[in-house]
């Protein structure tokens, strides 16, 4: 993105709901690395991948085995694979491009959160955090799992949950924990129910360090920022804490081992705590002192400058945005539906939230048109400036004074081929090509659309909103259209089914009167040359003028026409 000419003031935080996506009942979301695709897990076991630029569905991942609601989705580093965990205790690994299932593993417990190992391009190991027991590392190829230590005894060795604490029926003890990989994937940060953060080595499953959190309450979420520099924890004491990660990205394990050996005089937990104090430093605490809201799904912004957290109070759709220094920047309030998941776009100031009704809301900045862009010598003023003219400003001067007074040095070398790498993704190595977008295969127009189009009355209700994308396409002549089998959903769907499919996968904006009118016009306007067309042609023309002239959106949503 050429950020030099795009207004720098726009790189902040979102303010209003721009749009919402609807397809089935979505439960959890995840952006791919570049933010061009949004994966959403649905309650029917399928995963939907949205093309975030066009806000349309790019792919649906469906399988007859996967029918249980999805609890979490995670992309692989370069976007080729998608891992989904479901309530039937299974984990499914999908290949995004082909839409095929690669692997499926069934565990002992339902996983609430899965994370694919971020270090490799085709990861086969993932971290799964079940509801109430220790996080496990699962190898998706072999289905073997390794339980991670969740607490340290005085001997300093990480212990698995004590067998004596098991329940009478032998099920594992209730130790809710949260865990996450660090940026490279060589360390796992585990937040346990005693309010401690343990740094566990990925390869050896050894606990390297321990950082106790003040208050010692159960850690519900533990999340890294995108650049790996900051860590946040969300605890049961209703506080979100921000830590600065002092370990370097590369060779963190080596550094840890060095630190461990340097603290030889200490033993056990003391040693771990000492090492831990060198790994994380508490920076800030965020809480709502007045209402003591329990936080849900906290995360960082793409650049790590903002922290966003949602209120876990039922019936409320509130999103709090703080900047990292602790200042509460904004509270976003959505419709009165509970919020179940939240994600910040990796690059743009966009927040996506999932409500309990299964809709995905997209929050964006309230864009105002930058008028000075429309003419190069316009300048935007903050407030009125009194203009004081020069003495000779309005004198009549001869034409010679108007000659350009700058010389263009046309002999300078111009580089038209080399481009700068995007600094936001500087760590991408070229070892594997990143999957940034899925090829958009145009869904073919069905011949019966023509008839529907000609005879259609103006139905302006929401339910036929899906009709408009198809009705806009018009077949001019009666050329025999062979429908190629390009439909992306499984099975050979005919065009009719495609229509039905489109019905459920609407991409909708908050309807505004103008937008609906425009839809009506688009439906109404046939493209055939005939007397009847002239009328609607003119009205359409007028509508277009109206719409194009109405720049300022009347509600907080931009219309289809700018």
């Amino acid at each position: 993105m050429n950020v030099t000419i795009i207004d720098p003031l726009q790189g902040d935080f979102p303010e209003v709901i721009e749009e919402y996506l609807q397809h089935g009942n979505m439960k959890c979301i995840a952006f791919n690395r570049r933010g061009t695709l949004l994966a959403a897990g649905c309650s029917d076991g399928s995963c939907v991948i949205w093309d975030f630029e066009t806000r349309g569905i790019a792919k649906e991942l469906r399988d007859k085995d996967c029918v249980a609601p999805i609890t979490s989705v995670c992309w692989s580093k370069y976007g080729h694979h998608l891992l989904a965990s479901a309530t039937d205790r299974s984990l499914t690994l999908w290949d995004v491009k082909s839409g095929e299932k690669i692997a499926r593993v069934t565990l002992q417990q339902t996983t609430l959160l899965v994370r694919l190992h971020p270090g490799s391009c085709t990861p086969s190991i993932c971290l799964a955090c079940p509801l109430s027991s220790a996080p496990i590392l699962v190898d998706l190829n072999t289905s073997s799992s390794t339980v991670l230590p969740v607490s340290v005894s005085d001997s300093g060795i990480g212990v698995l949950p004590h067998p004596r604490n098991k329940f009478a029926d032998g099920s594992p003890p209730y130790t809710p924990t949260a865990a996450t990989f660090n940026k490279n994937g060589d360390l796992i940060y585990v937040g346990n129910s005693k309010g401690e953060i343990l740094i566990v080595d990925f390869k050896t499953i050894r606990v390297h360090a321990m950082i106790p959190i003040l208050g010692g309450s159960i850690v519900r979420n533990i999340v890294f920022s995108r650049n790996g520099q900051y860590l946040l924890t969300n605890s049961n004491d209703r506080v979100i804490r921000i830590y600065e990660n002092l370990l370097t990205q590369k060779k963190a394990v080596v550094a840890l081992e060095e630190m461990t050996s340097s603290f030889d005089n200490l033993q056990g937990t003391e040693k771990l705590k000492a090492v831990g104090s060198k790994c994380l430093i508490l920076q800030r605490e965020f809480q709502d002192a007045v209402t003591k809201i329990q936080w849900k799904a906290p995360c960082f912004s793409g650049d790590g400058d903002w922290v966003v957290g949602a209120s876990a109070t039922k019936g409320e759709h509130k999103i709090y945005i703080w900047d990292r220094s602790g200042y509460l920047a904004k509270i976003l309030e959505g419709p009165k539906e509970a919020l179940i998941d939240l994600a910040w776009h990796p690059v743009r100031p966009l927040v996506v939230s999932v409500s309990i009704t299964g809709l995905v809301y997209i929050w964006a900045k309230d864009y105002t048109e930058n008028w000075s862009a429309f003419a190069p010598d316009f300048k935007e003023l903050e407030e009125n400036e009194e203009y004081v003219e020069r003495e000779d400003e309005f004198d009549l001067v001869p034409e010679t004074d108007k000659v350009k007074d700058y010389e263009v040095n046309e002999d300078e070398e111009v580089d038209v081929v080399n481009f700068d790498k995007d600094p936001a993704f500087s760590d991408s190595d070229a070892s594997m090509e990143e999957l940034c977008f899925l090829t958009a295969i145009p869904s073919p127009d069905a011949p019966e659309q023509q008839d529907k189009y000609v005879g259609s009355s103006t139905k302006v209700e929401e339910s036929t909103h899906s009709g408009s994308p198809l009705s806009v396409d018009v077949e001019q002549n009666d050329q025999a259209i062979i429908l190629p089998d390009l439909i992306l959903a499984e099975g050979g769907n005919s065009a009719a089914e495609e229509t039905v499919g489109n019905n459920s996968s609407k991409r909708r904006r908050k309807p505004s009167a103008k937008g609906l009118e425009l839809q009506a016009d688009q439906v109404r306007k046939p493209l055939k040359k005939g007397k009847s067309s002239n009328k609607s042609f003119k009205s359409k023309n007028k509508k277009n003028d109206q719409d194009t002239n109405g720049f300022a959106p009347e509600d907080d949503v931009t219309d289809e026409c700018l």
């Binding site: 993105m1 050429n2 030099t4 000419i5 795009i6 093309d51 630029e53 066009t54 806000r55 569905i57 790019a58 743009r348 864009y367 930058n370 862009a373 429309f374 190069p376 000659v403 350009k404 263009v408 046309e410 300078e412 070398e413 111009v414 580089d415 038209v416 081929v417 481009f419 940034c436 977008f437 090829t439 958009a440 295969i441 145009p442 869904s443 073919p444 127009d445 408009s468 994308p469 198809l470 806009v472 396409d473 018009v474 077949e475 001019q476 050329q479 259209i481 190629p484 688009q522 306007k525 493209l527 040359k529 042609f537 023309n541 277009n544 194009t548 002239n549 931009t558 289809e560 700018l562």
Partner: protein
């Protein structure tokens, strides 16, 4: 004023009409040169500022391009010629309402795409070279499958002739500019119009995406080039020269930092749109009536290639701005130019008198074709 031209429907597509200046064109002379427009080159910065205005004074391209093949078949004037991104195909659009897809290795006709009701002004390939979109006077943009020749989708919404179209690099969106003075951005998959940009106050002559698809540049007869953010649809920059001659063509450079703009005062300019100043000027050709595209040739040295109304193709060296070659062979205005993405091959198309697509290669390269 221009958007309300009532022209007889049976005539050639708008692209081939000379830019209607203040003087009204009588119907018979649609494709004949218009009266001299108001925008004559004023000589201020074109011929005087640099010495490279003339043709071939010492600089030349080695080896020079020669005519390799002439592709015949269109029944009326050609309006646009494009190479596919994989280099295997050439697509040509014509006023005879058809598109023709030719093989660029065997120069045989691969497909003929029939379906538009009116002449076609522009054609564009998708990044995977599987689909083409075409802009036509019948106010629609159509998407075709290249392999089968089947028309897949019709994008309707413009209220006047669609003059130009372009796929974005991700090929999930198409931008189209029209005589109705707007630029529309379409979703390829569903065919929905995602945005309508209130781009200009005169017909939009050209649209292009930059290399990551985040910006759209549009040029128009009103003399402005506007840069738009494709994600939000907001204008981020306007480039205007002091005299504002009609802009007939705009294109991003391969690295997306510069904009090449052709204006109807026989001038090509390379602008740095961040600063709003132009860096290079290319003259020597004739362009005052038709919307003739220009392109970058970067496969073997850096050149700018453009058609011209004196029936030749001009090649300028990018840095020195000198004309290094004039390719003669067409018998009418060369209205379409495209460069092969990897080989040193140029394809060009010309107007009614000629109706052919000519393929030019560098001497010595034609031995490699077979």
């Amino acid at each position: 004023m221009l958007s309300q031209i009532s022209l007889p429907i049976s005539l050639a597509s708008e692209r081939l009409k000379p830019k209607p200046s203040a003087v009204h064109n009588p119907p018979e002379s649609k494709l004949s040169p218009a009266m001299s427009s108001v925008y004559q080159p004023n000589g201020l910065h074109s011929s005087d500022a640099e010495a490279g205005g003339g043709d071939g004074d010492g600089a030349s391209i080695a080896p020079p391009y020669i005519l390799r093949e002439t592709l015949r078949g269109h029944k009326r004037a050609i309006s646009s010629v494009k190479f596919s991104p994989d280099g295997a195909l050439i697509a040509s659009a014509s006023a005879d309402k058809t598109l023709r897809v030719w093989s660029s290795t065997y120069f045989s006709l691969h497909e003929e795409l029939v379906g538009h009701d009116e002449g076609i002004s522009d054609v564009s390939f998708s990044s995977d070279s599987r689909y083409v979109c075409s802009a036509s006077d019948d106010r629609t943009v159509r998407i075709w499958d290249v392999e089968t020749g089947v028309q897949i989708k019709t994008l309707a919404g413009h209220t006047n002739y669609v003059f130009c179209c372009c796929y974005n690099p991700q090929s999930n969106m198409i931008a189209s500019g029209s005589f109705d003075e707007t630029v529309r951005v379409w979703d390829v998959k569903s065919g929905k119009c995602l945005r309508v940009l209130p781009a200009h106050s005169e017909p939009v002559t050209s649209v292009d995406f930059n290399r990551d698809g985040s910006l759209i540049v549009s040029g128009s007869f009103d003399g402005l080039c506007r840069i738009w953010d494709s994600a939000t649809g907001h204008c981020v920059k306007t480039i205007i020269d002091d005299d504002s001659p009609p802009v007939s063509f705009v294109k991003f450079s391969p690295n997306g930092k510069f904009v090449l703009a052709a204006t109807l005062d026989s001038t090509l300019r390379l602008w740095n749109f961040s600063t709003g100043k132009f860096l290079k000027t290319y003259t020597g050709h004739e362009n005052s009536k038709f919307c003739i595209p220009a392109t970058f040739s970067v496969t073997n040295g850096k050149y700018i290639v453009s058609g011209s109304e004196d029936n030749c193709l001009y090649l300028w060296e990018l840095q020195t701005r000198k004309v290094v070659q004039k390719l003669e062979g067409h018998t009418d205005t060369v209205i379409a130019v495209s460069c092969h993405p990897s080989k040193n091959m140029i394809a060009s198309g010309a107007l009614t008198n000629d109706r052919t697509v000519k393929v030019w290669v560098q001497e010595g390269e034609d031995q490699k074709e077979m």
